[in-house]
Amino acid sequence: MKLIKRVVFGTALIAGALCLSGCDPQVYGNVGIQSGWGSGPHLTGSISVGGRIH
C-alpha cells in the first residue's frame, strides 16, 4: 500500500512538473503531421484537368 502511494505521488509530481513546461499544444497538436510539399518538390504534369467546374 505504501509503495502504491509513493508511485501515485511520484507520478503526480512528474506530471505536474511536465505541465509547468507546457501541456501538449492543442491546435494541430502532437499529431505527427508529415510534409505534404515542404521539401520543395519539382513537379511534372499539368493542372489543366483540375479546378472548379460548376
Binding site: 515542404g38 504534369g45 472548379r52
Partner: protein, 297 residues
C-alpha cells in the same frame, strides 16, 4: 503536513493542466445551420510564418492577426487569423509549435461535421488514420485531424452552433475550390462518402479524365481527381480565385520575388479559364484559378 501540501500542489498542477485548452475564435460570428461536408475553414501550417504572411498579404491582400495561446503555465503557441476584405477566412499555424520532423508546411482544409465523434469513428472504420485525439478548441468547436488512406491530410470541425452559410463564390483573392489529388480515386471516393454525408457525382472532362464531385446539401463541396502531377503524394489542393488572366499573370510574376515558387505555370483548363500551381515561402502548395470561366481570357 508537508506531504499533504505536496499532494495539494501536485493535484492543483494536474487540474490546471487538464483545464489548459486552446480557445480559438469561432469560424463565423453567428450560425444556426449545420452543413456537414462543406469546407468551412483553411489552416496553413507554415515553417516560415513571417515570410508566408508577407507573401499572402502582397499577392492577395490578406490581413493577419497574431494570437498568443497559453498552452501551459510557462508555455505559449502562436496562431494567426487570416482575413480577406475584413472577413475571417482561415488561420496559420507556426510549425515551430508542432512536434514534427522536417518541413510539414501545407494547407489543411477543414470539413464541417455535424457530429465529430461519429466522423472520427468513420475515419477509423474506413481506412483513414486519425492524428491525435479530438481537440476542444472552445469557441471554434471540436476538431479532429486525419489522413485518408493515401495520406492526404485534412481536418474535421464540429462548430458549437452551426456552420458558415452558403454564399456566392468568394471575391478574387478568396478561397474558390478544394480538390483532392490522389493516387487512388475509387478508394478516396468511398472513404470521403463514408466519412461525410456526400452524394458522389462523376463527370468526364474528356475520355481519359474522370472528375468526381462530392456534393452535400445538393451543392458541390469538393472534387476528387487522379493526381495529375508527379513529385508529390496525395494532397488536398486549395484553389484561390483570381479575377482574370491579367491578374493571374501579375500574381505569378511576383511569386519568386516573394520567396515562393511556381510549381506549374499558367495553363488553359479543360473546363475553361486558366490555372497555375504555386508554393509559398514555406513550400506549401496552393492553386490559382481564374473565375468565372466565361471571362474572355
Amino acid at each position: 503536513m508537508k506531504r499533504l501540501g505536496l499532494w495539494i500542489v501536485s493535484l492543483a498542477l494536474l487540474t490546471s493542466c487538464a483545464q489548459t485548452q486552446v480557445d480559438l475564435p469561432a469560424v463565423v460570428d453567428s450560425a444556426d445551420t449545420r452543413l456537414p461536408g462543406k469546407i468551412i475553414w483553411h489552416d496553413l501550417i507554415s515553417a516560415q510564418p513571417e515570410a508566408s504572411q508577407t507573401f499572402y498579404q502582397t499577392l492577395f491582400g490578406w490581413q493577419f492577426e497574431k494570437l498568443t495561446l497559453n498552452t501551459g503555465f510557462f508555455s505559449t503557441s502562436r496562431y494567426y487569423l487570416i482575413r480577406h476584405n475584413g472577413e475571417l477566412i482561415g488561420g496559420m499555424v507556426d510549425q515551430a509549435d508542432l512536434n514534427v520532423k522536417g518541413n510539414a508546411s501545407q494547407w489543411v482544409p477543414v470539413f464541417a461535421s455535424a457530429d465529430i465523434d461519429q466522423s472520427a469513428a468513420a475515419v477509423d472504420a474506413n481506412g483513414g488514420e486519425r492524428l491525435g485525439p479530438i481537440f476542444d478548441l472552445r469557441q471554434r468547436g471540436r476538431m479532429a485531424v486525419a489522413q485518408d488512406g493515401q495520406g492526404a491530410l485534412f481536418a474535421m470541425l464540429q462548430t458549437p452552433e452551426g456552420d458558415p452559410a452558403d454564399a456566392g463564390p468568394a471575391a478574387p483573392g478568396g478561397f474558390l475550390w478544394n480538390e483532392l489529388w490522389t493516387t487512388e480515386v475509387p478508394a478516396a471516393r468511398e472513404f470521403y462518402a463514408a466519412v461525410m454525408p456526400y452524394q458522389v457525382e462523376q463527370k468526364s472532362l474528356r475520355e481519359s479524365v474522370d472528375y468526381t464531385l462530392l456534393k452535400a446539401q445538393q451543392k458541390p463541396r469538393a472534387g476528387i481527381l487522379k493526381k495529375p502531377v508527379e513529385g508529390i503524394g496525395s494532397n488536398w489542393i486549395t484553389y484561390i480565385r483570381v479575377a482574370n488572366a491579367q491578374s493571374l499573370e501579375a500574381i505569378v510574376a511576383q511569386v519568386e520575388g516573394l520567396g515562393g515558387r511556381v510549381l506549374l505555370p499558367i495553363e488553359a483548363r479543360e473546363a475553361g479559364g486558366l490555372a497555375a500551381l504555386i508554393a509559398g515561402p514555406s513550400g506549401a502548395g496552393i492553386a490559382l484559378q481564374t473565375w468565372p470561366v466565361d471571362n474572355k481570357e
